[in-house]
């Protein structure tokens, strides 16, 4: 359990930073949005990791079995809504990218800046 816990936190950091890298380094706007989705998923993973109680189960009561240990429902609620909000905001970002493509004819950031400078 000890090793798995450290592994969870480290995977969170690695995935977070892979997303961060895509956001800062990539020039293509769609790739940046993909990076943002990965970054977001890493945060979700951290929250859900923290909600776990060892030996616990999903926080859904069962009449027949009592005395169970349940994992923490609160981070789960926060992330559940965050996922749906995340896809809506990603869709908004994609909408903006589509409009940029229509106006500038490109989705590469450097080319957009080039056109703006002219």
């Amino acid at each position: 359990m000890e090793f798995l816990g450290i592994y969870y936190y480290w995977v969170f950091v690695v995935v977070l930073m892979i997303g961060f890298y895509a956001v800062v380094a990539k020039v293509n706007l769609i790739k940046k949005l993909i990076g943002l989705s990965i970054f977001q998923s890493a945060v979700f993973l951290l929250y859900i990791t923290m909600s776990k109680v060892s030996g616990g189960t999903a926080p859904i009561f069962n009449d027949e079995i009592t005395g169970l240990l349940y994992s923490n429902p609160l981070p789960q609620v926060l992330i559940l809504t965050a996922i749906v909000v995340g896809i809506s905001t990603t869709a908004l970002g994609l909408g903006i990218v589509v409009r940029i493509k229509e106006e500038y004819g490109t989705t590469e950031e450097n080319e957009i800046q080039e056109i703006d400078r002219r």
């Binding site: 380094a25 009561f61 349940y70 923490n72 559940l80």
Partner: protein, 329 residues
């Protein structure tokens, strides 16, 4: 065994993420992102978050892939420019990683029942849900009742994002916009001419819809609720649109109906909240909705979950249609 499984899933997650960032082909990146979502959903599931896993699988692997593909169809499938300042970016990311890694050493041990996150209100929710609300799924109880304000806010964010996409993509194309050549009518209407997708798709759509409704109305007893159901129902209609084409889908569920769903869901949520005020209690307190506080709470949760489901369905489908209509124009 569980440790092995967890390590396996997490390692696959990292490999997929690296592949997504490395590939130059955006189509491949989007497909891999779908796999990434499915893997993370599996991770959520083994971390006891059944509701979250269901949402992530429906939203991340289903809807998000479709939306990204819709955007790719309107832009380009290839990343043209090589990454500039690669070393500088690596340096920034490395420094940031070290900071976050350093922070993780202070975090409580994984699964520790005495971690601070388990000390605050969460035990109270677990203890009081049977008494105040009496539904088995604590996640739904917290989402719908204890933290109803939060959820109301999230629904409005989803609603606002939907309106934003409609505003952005329903604008007429400017003179500088590059007009694509219109397809001859009837040339490529969905996958209607491919036998296997058509037969399998037609068979699946009603069952996905039925499952969506089950998830909506069984959310108090098992994993589920409005957010997941909304995504599932939207996915069923998107599948229908992929098989039968846009027109047919808009005939089955016209844009006006989607607008009504979007607005109606958010309004229903707000009205249920206000009903509490008018019946002499606080905003979003459902106890006064029925003669008995517990059944009032249950009624309130069912109503607001219905509102959430309506808004999410309406918004996701409107966004999908906005992208698809842009493609046709």
């Amino acid at each position: 065994m569980k440790v092995l499984f967890g390590v396996f899933l997490l390692t696959l997650l990292v490999i997929t993420a690296v592949a997504i960032v490395r590939t130059k082909n955006l189509f491949v990146a989007v497909m891999l992102l779908g796999i990434f979502s499915l893997l993370i959903a599996a991770n959520f599931f083994i971390l006891d978050a059944a509701d979250v896993a269901l949402t992530e699988a429906a939203v991340g692997a289903g809807i998000s892939t479709v939306l990204f593909l819709g955007a790719l169809a309107l832009t380009s499938e290839h990343e043209r420019t090589a990454t500039p300042h690669r070393l500088l970016s690596f340096a920034v990311v490395t420094v940031a990683s070290l900071v976050v890694l350093y922070a993780t050493f202070d975090k409580p041990t994984f699964g520790d029942p005495n971690a601070p996150v388990h000390q605050h209100v969460a035990p109270w929710y677990l203890e009081k849900t049977p008494e105040y609300i009496d539904i088995p799924n604590v996640v739904t109880a917290v989402l719908g009742s204890f933290r109803g304000y939060d959820t109301l806010g999230e629904v409005f964010v989803v609603f606002t994002a939907g309106i934003g996409v409609l505003f952005l993509l329903s604008a007429r194309r400017g003179p500088s916009g590059r007009r694509q050549t219109a397809e001859p009518p009837g040339a490529a209407v969905g996958l209607r001419h491919d036998v296997i997708p058509r037969v399998v798709g037609r068979l699946l759509v009603p069952f996905i819809l039925l499952f969506g409704l089950y998830v909506q109305f069984h959310g108090e007893y098992g994993p589920g609720g409005g957010f997941q159901a909304g995504a599932l129902i939207a996915a069923a209609f998107i599948l229908y649109a992929l098989i039968e084409g846009e027109e047919q889908t808009l005939r089955a569920l016209p844009q006006s109906a989607l607008n009504a769903l979007m607005v109606g869901g958010a309004l229903l949520y707000g009205v249920v909240g206000l009903a509490g005020v008018f019946l002499g209690s606080n905003f979003l307190d459902y106890s006064v909705l029925a003669s008995n506080p517990v059944s009032g709470q249950q009624m309130g949760i069912i109503l607001i979950e219905a509102g959430v489901g309506m808004t999410v369905t309406g918004v996701l489908l409107s966004i999908f249609h906005a992208f698809a209509a842009r493609d046709r124009a």
